[in-house]
Subunit: 249 residues, 2 copies
Amino acid sequence: MSFAPAVILARPQLGENIGAAARAMANFGLSDLRLVAPRDPWPNERAWSMAAGALGIVEGARVFDRLQDAIADLQTVYATTARLRGVSKPVLTPAEAAGRLRAASAEGVKTGLLFGSERAGLDNDEAALATALVTIPTSPDFASLNLGQAVLLNAYEWWKAGDATAPARLDHGPLAAPASRAEMIHLFEHLEDELLKSGFLYPPDKVDSMRLNLRAMLNRAALSDQEVRTLRGVIVSLTRGKKRRNPAE
Amino acid sequence: MSFAPAVILARPQLGENIGAAARAMANFGLSDLRLVAPRDPWPNERAWSMAAGALGIVEGARVFDRLQDAIADLQTVYATTARLRGVSKPVLTPAEAAGRLRAASAEGVKTGLLFGSERAGLDNDEAALATALVTIPTSPDFASLNLGQAVLLNAYEWWKAGDATAPARLDHGPLAAPASRAEMIHLFEHLEDELLKSGFLYPPDKVDSMRLNLRAMLNRAALSDQEVRTLRGVIVSLTRGKKRRNPAE
């Protein structure tokens, strides 16, 4: 059985930030929200409004008085903190932490991501209850991230660690497909034939390199079959253009 | 010469979101903010308060009436959009886009990341001015990201693409170093010697496997030199404990 990590907010101060955390969780496939001693009364109106569509997560949030109760059932807990403490603990990037959480979850290990309060983050005793620390790499000139941002970035990495989206793809939409080589060769020949007639492909000793450059440009464009038909229509139209624009001529 | 990408916000509505974008830029090493036809008057009080420490970016933001003027000097512009259009365009993940932006910037190419308005994102004509699209992978159940979150995730990926932080490290603090093998071996032998005397390592045919298990636990803990000294003090204290706790005994 596989579990997504719980998100545990220790002593959160502002309802807005709890709502922002819930929204980020919904964006990236997390749902188990746990609050430890929230400062403002709970349930909190501002959490509801910041959560946007993620109301189920806010409504399902469990509230605990003590951190040890909030994480008692978990086996692996990573604590997000910008500060290093005077103790020896593994420090992970969010991406590395996410990969480890995916692997642990896939084996049925119950996991959690722990975040401290807005004002001062996690204190040493809180961090000591976690199995490892996660530090988000930031510019040293401006390292301050708010609670909602910290949850967002960790939740995003969790999602990415299990996401198979191709890093780059060419989307042609539902009606088009990448052009076949035959379609491209007909386009090349059509264009080159017209450019020979029009005198653009001249003088003869330059024609080969000019043709290669044109073909390279068209290949780089990674055309769809529809786009090849469009460009062939463009060539036809341009070669007949003067007649069409001024039928009286 | 290397340039970090400009961040271009097309028709942003809320000053808060401009401020959140500026703050995310400061977190992740971006500084060139450009606004196209912001809805609310500019400069905007709410942008200032949301930007927290990133005031230089808000103050330096340039305002344009038209998108084509805001991106005129750029050579590579990626447009973040959740929606696919009826045109064929490369679609990149933020991580892939960030890698390409780093590579282009390192060659002196001027780059930008374009974001649409809060209400409806980029329209087709705006997206058509970009060289590729960036789509943030999200849970299909809740794909809505706000403008500040979209800027944050793309800025974070930009930073990560140039960041050499080790994915995992064990931080021992400035005063400690990983224990040497000699220190560990002395710890093993000290503990095992006391456990033989106390009768824990018994019967003799089990001693070897018990020793190996204890050594495996201690190795997994990846102790520092300081921690080895602490544990040796623990062993001494436990073996002498009764005397200390009750000197009259």
